[in-house]
């Protein structure tokens, strides 16, 4: 088999002290420097976190099934929404994308591994510890963080339930992990491309991760800074966010959202990359407007730095600020529109087939665009005064993060599962997963738009009677969506254990270096770089 030959050819370049470089058992995973192993670890970790965060969301939806308080105390409800948000952002979506980056970027650019393999291992293994602290705080005296994933001061400082320190240090570790992961991605792409692969010949997937990694390096340290200020405000008597000492709680929001807005693009740009890989493959056409896609991605990344205060229209700022941030935000619709147009134009007159990766990708294009439109509505300052902190906002960001980011992750997972496992996934089970998810996710999030427009506030465990019917359906959608994800777990386990043997290139329209190696991909690939024309 190819695995043996590749491994043999690599032996000479390997450390002599360690002859057996593919250890078995737990040590393989603890000590690994292999990008594929680490990618697998990231993907499994993110899926476990996704189910954990999802379980918290189930409790939230149970509580909101009927008006009145029935299952949880309001304070515990706050802990649920907070930790649900933190887990999904930092534990599910971001590590899943890092897993994709690890598995695929070296194969796509013809590199032997990530540029800094040991640091790669460290980036991953600190994450479970960070989440152990965060989730463990549920079982501490103070309880888990209850101030929202945005940890606005003074909720996280003066009025904290005592969980702030654990929250802060957990976030520090998550930040360190992201920064190291991002540095690794940037260096790998800048330095390890095969000869002849110029920047503008890179797959768009690689481009989007490249730009995302820059965003991470630029803003994760700012998050570290702001959590540090929260820590010193809470425990060491500083007054960064306390007007009595000359600081300002509004300043918290400015610094936080300077991180927080690029962060939302960190969670969607890689999704663009995945979808831009899959749609051409199943339309059997080149991606329409590759160059414009690259520039659109870069423009979105640039704009993400100058729009942060659109999260703060109701917080209060000078009128000029409100106007600037409104117009700058609406400007993002231009490069995003370019992308949506390009995806549609790629499909136009293509010989399309609808395998599961393509189904998720098409659902992505439509549903992400719905999330984009509600984003445009929220960008309008005067309108946002009405929508702010209602379920309309919840609907908006769940459309972009669940039917956007998460759907792209599913699309990518189905697309590359044959490469990862060497087997085809069970198609009918996968289709069940898709259709159940698609229907339930819309039942879950679409009515939230109406709830929000009618004025139902977010992050509150109780609501007025008029919202009862919609909330019942939303909760039913939520439970159905949660259960549907177990189908995915079944598909993946079945696919790892067996199934039809996957050829090196299972999709006839697929392009890229990763399809030139065997399925499953050998443990080491491209120990000598391929030549790109």
């Amino acid at each position: 088999m190819t695995t043996e030959t590749v491994n043999e050819s690599l032996d000479e370049s390997h450390d002599d002290e360690h002859h057996d470089h593919k250890m078995t058992g737990i040590k393989r995973w603890l000590y690994t420097t292999n990008h594929k192993d680490i990618g697998t670890l990231y993907l499994w970790f993110s899926f476990i976190m996704f189910l954990t965060g999802g379980a918290l969301a189930m409790v939230i939806r149970m509580e909101l099934f009927q008006p009145g308080l029935q299952i949880v105390e309001p304070d515990f409800f706050n802990q649920l929404t907070t930790v649900h948000g933190l887990i999904m952002v930092f534990g599910a979506i971001m590590p899943a994308f890092t897993g994709f980056a690890n598995w695929l970027i070296p194969m796509m650019i013809g590199a032997p591994d990530m540029a800094l393999p040991r640091m790669n291992n460290w980036s991953f293994w600190i994450l479970p510890f960070a989440f152990a602290i965060l989730i463990g705080s549920f079982f501490m005296e103070s309880g888990a963080p209850n101030f929202g994933w945005t940890f606005y001061a003074p909720l996280s400082t003066t009025y904290s339930n005592g969980s702030t320190a654990f929250f802060v240090f957990a976030v520090h570790i998550m930040g360190i992990s992201s920064i190291m992961g991002a540095i690794n991605i940037v260096v790998t792409i800048m330095n390890l491309r095969a000869p002849g692969m110029t920047y503008m010949k890179m797959p768009l997937f690689v481009w989007t991760f490249f730009i995302t990694a820059y965003l991470l390096i630029a803003v994760m340290p700012v998050l570290a800074g702001v959590v540090t200020m929260v820590l010193t405000d809470t425990y060491f008597g500083t007054s960064f966010f306390d007007a009595a000492g000359g600081g300002d709680p509004v300043m918290f929001q400015h610094i936080f959202w300077f991180f927080g807005h690029p962060e939302v693009y960190i969670m969607i740009l890689p999704a663009f990359g995945i979808v831009s890989t899959i749609i051409p493959a199943f339309s059997r056409k080149q991606l329409f407007g590759y160059t414009s896609m690259v520039y659109a991605t870069a423009s979105i990344a640039f704009l993400s730095f100058i729009v942060w205060a659109h999260h703060m229209f109701t917080t209060g700022m000078p009128l000029a600020g409100e106007l600037f941030f409104m117009y700058a935000t609406m400007l993002i619709a231009v490069p995003t529109g370019v992308k949506v147009f390009n995806w549609v134009a790629t499909m136009w007159r293509g010989s399309m087939t609808f395998e599961v990766p393509m189904l998720f990708s098409i659902a992505f294009v439509i549903l992400f665009t719905i999330g984009g439109f509600s984003g445009l509505m929220l960008a309008l300052t005067p309108v946002d005064f009405q929508y702010h902190d209602t379920y309309f906002v919840v609907a908006h960001f769940h459309y972009v993060l669940v039917t956007g980011s998460l759907f792209s992750i599913y699309a990518g997972a189905y697309y590359w599962l044959p490469k990862w496992t060497g087997h085809m996934y069970n198609d009918s089970l996968a289709k069940w997963h898709f259709w159940c998810s698609l229907i339930s996710v819309n039942l879950l999030f679409f009515p939230m738009h109406f709830l929000g427009l009618a004025g139902m506030p977010r992050r509150i465990p109780d609501y007025a009677l008029q919202f009862a019917d919609f909330n019942k359906w939303v909760s039913i959608g939520g439970f159905a969506f949660g259960l549907s994800q177990l189908i995915f777990l079944a598909v993946v386990i079945k696919c790892i254990k067996g199934g039809d043997k996957a050829p090196a290139k299972p999709w006839d329209g697929a392009e890229g270096l990763e399809w030139t190696v065997a399925s499953p991909a050998p443990y080491h690939t491209f120990s000598t770089p391929p030549k790109i024309d």
Binding site: T32, A115, L192, A224, G225, F240, G246, S527, T528
Partner: protein, 294 residues
């Protein structure tokens, strides 16, 4: 692109250092979390010990990990491309550090130019000024906070000016050391690098003196003295920690040079330490301007 040489890229086999480091970071985070929580609740606990053990473990991990890397480098396993990876990695790490400081500089500038004048009623905030703290007048440095905490401002002459000169000089001597290394003039290299380390240590000692002066009854400039004290100590404190780290790097480089490491062509570690040193120097220039002078 095509002129670049593609040798075989060294991919290390398994390493146990990262997982040691992960456990160490967990001990630091969990220990520190317990420690500060216990202090606030005024109870004793094991947090501090866990924190210290974590720091010790991190040091053990860094020493072990780096000596692996040094051995690999000395035995010629690394290619030019690997060297590039290290260099780029270090540059992006320094960039992330720049952004960390940017958050604190941002807080300083926001407080000075926006929140303090607003508290005094500037712009459309007349009622904020009149209702919240009518006595408050906006000044910078903020020597009297809205709730009445008083302090004194640290001047820029004296110690800070001396420190600026020391650090700027040390950046020049670090550069001379690098030039000497590239010319393979080992005695000069040792002399310039040694001088840089001495300057660094003097800087750090003077910084400690300055803090002692700030915390004296005469000045009463504490970390808790409102936003001026906050930004002063957080910015100079984090800068001081980075100087300490840079200084340790330089000292390690010094001992490696004594052992005969580094050639004019191959000296990434020295380069990284010197980049880092220039970085802490540039941060200090901004500190001197925005924290001390303006």
């Amino acid at each position: 692109m095509t002129t670049k040489k593609y040798e075989s890229y060294y991919v290390p086999a398994q390493s146990h250092w990262p997982i040691v480091g992960a456990v160490a970071l967990f001990m630091i985070a969990f220990g520190a979390g317990n420690y500060v929580t216990d202090i606030k609740n005024d109870v004793g606990g094991y947090g501090g010990y866990l924190l210290l053990a974590g720091i010790a473990l991190v040091i053990y991990m860094v020493v072990g990990w780096f000596s692996n890397v040094i051995n690999e480098s000395m035995s010629g396993k690394y290619s030019h491309q690997m060297d590039q990876s290290f260099r780029q990695g270090m540059s992006w790490f320094i960039f992330s550090e720049v952004m960390f400081f940017a958050a604190f500089f941002g807080a300083l500038l926001y407080a000075r130019t926006l929140s303090i004048p607003w508290l005094d009623g500037e712009g459309n905030n007349a009622m904020t000024g009149a209702v919240l703290w009518p006595e408050f007048t906006a000044t910078w440095p903020l020597i009297k906070t809205p709730d009445g905490t008083e302090t004194t401002a640290m001047g820029w002459y004296g110690l800070p000016l001396i420190n600026t000169i020391l650090l700027l000089t040390s950046s020049v001597t670090a550069h001379f050391a690098h030039v000497a290394l590239e010319k393979n003039n080992r005695p000069q290299l040792k002399a310039w690098l040694g001088l840089t380390i001495v300057l660094a240590l003097v800087f750090l000692s003077l910084q400690v003196l300055e803090y002692a002066h700030g915390y004296s009854d005469e000045m009463q400039l504490y970390l808790t003295s409102g936003i001026y004290g906050n930004t002063f100590y957080m910015l100079t404190g984090f800068h001081g920690l980075h100087v300490l780290l840079g200084c340790i790097m330089l000292i390690v480089m010094f001992f490696r040079i004594l052992k005969g490491h580094f050639t004019p062509e191959n000296h990434f570690a020295f380069q990284a330490a010197s980049w880092y040193w220039h970085f802490v120097d540039v941060v200090w220039v901004f500190l001197f301007v925005f924290v001390y002078i303006l």
